[in-house]
Structure formats: structure tokens, C-alpha cells
Symmetry: C2
């Protein structure tokens, strides 16, 4: 069993209201020194078999069609060590 991580983040040019709300809340809560926060999604995909090239390619297709909205989001796929 291998674990593949899919990270999905809004594209840089897309406004992120959740991240902005966090960024603005931080000074009120006593945290300084943070320029920006962006919020995205993280998926942990447990495979039945090994994380070979075919499996990774499948997960990439999965991310494209199901996990990310590629109009507004970018995603990365990586095998967890």
C-alpha cells in the first residue's frame, strides 16, 4: 500500500476570501509577520498497490476530473515518503 498526496490550491490570480479572512484575523489575534495566507485542499489517496507510473498517472487523471476544478485551481501529485 502506497499513499499519494494531491494538493489543490486556487490559481494565484484567483481571489481567496478564506485565506484573506485568516490573514486579516491574525493581527487581531496577536500574530504579526504574516504577509499572506492561502487556503487549499489536501487529499491523501491510499492505493491498493504500489505507486508505480501507471498508478500515479491514474491519480493525476482523478485529480483533474474529480478533486480539482482546473478552471480555477492548480494541483500537484506526489508520493509520500
Amino acid at each position: 500500500m502506497a499513499r499519494v498526496i494531491v494538493d489543490v490550491m486556487l490559481k494565484p490570480e484567483i481571489l481567496d476570501p478564506q485565506g484573506q479572512a485568516i490573514t486579516r484575523a491574525l493581527p487581531r489575534l496577536g500574530f504579526s509577520g504574516v504577509a499572506d495566507v492561502r487556503q487549499g485542499k489536501r487529499f491523501e489517496v491510499e492505493l491498493d498497490g504500489p505507486a508505480d507510473e501507471a498508478a500515479i498517472s491514474d491519480v493525476r487523471k482523478m485529480a483533474e476530473t474529480l478533486l480539482a476544478n482546473t478552471v480555477i485551481e492548480d494541483f500537484t501529485v506526489r508520493v509520500e515518503d
Copy 2:
């Protein structure tokens, strides 16, 4: 400017309905070989200064108080290469 990543995932013993919905949808969509999917959150925190020990410790406090609900969620903090 340094970027610190905070990953927030439901604790393993907490039910993840979103992840379960994805796991169940996959075979219908033609994807096989996935045992489980869990969904969490990923935060990209841009610091004004370097990611030194004090800054990382601040981000950890931020994660504990604001980004994660530590009753049901675990989080990890790491500096992006």
C-alpha cells in the same frame, strides 16, 4: 520571504464523509485500485521575514488556535523548500 505549509487532516479515528464520498465515487468514474481517500486542508503562510525558529513556533501556535480544531484534527507545519 519564506513560505510555511500547514497541513490539517482529520484525526484517523474521526469519520471523514467527504473522503468516503470520493472513495465511493471513484469506481463509478472508472478508477480502480484506490483503498481510501481522506480530505483535509492545506494552508500556505507567507512570512514577511525568514522562517527561523521563532517564526515557525508562531505558525505552530497559529495552527493550534486558528487553523486546526485540535479536538478532531491533527496538523503538521513545515517550511517549503
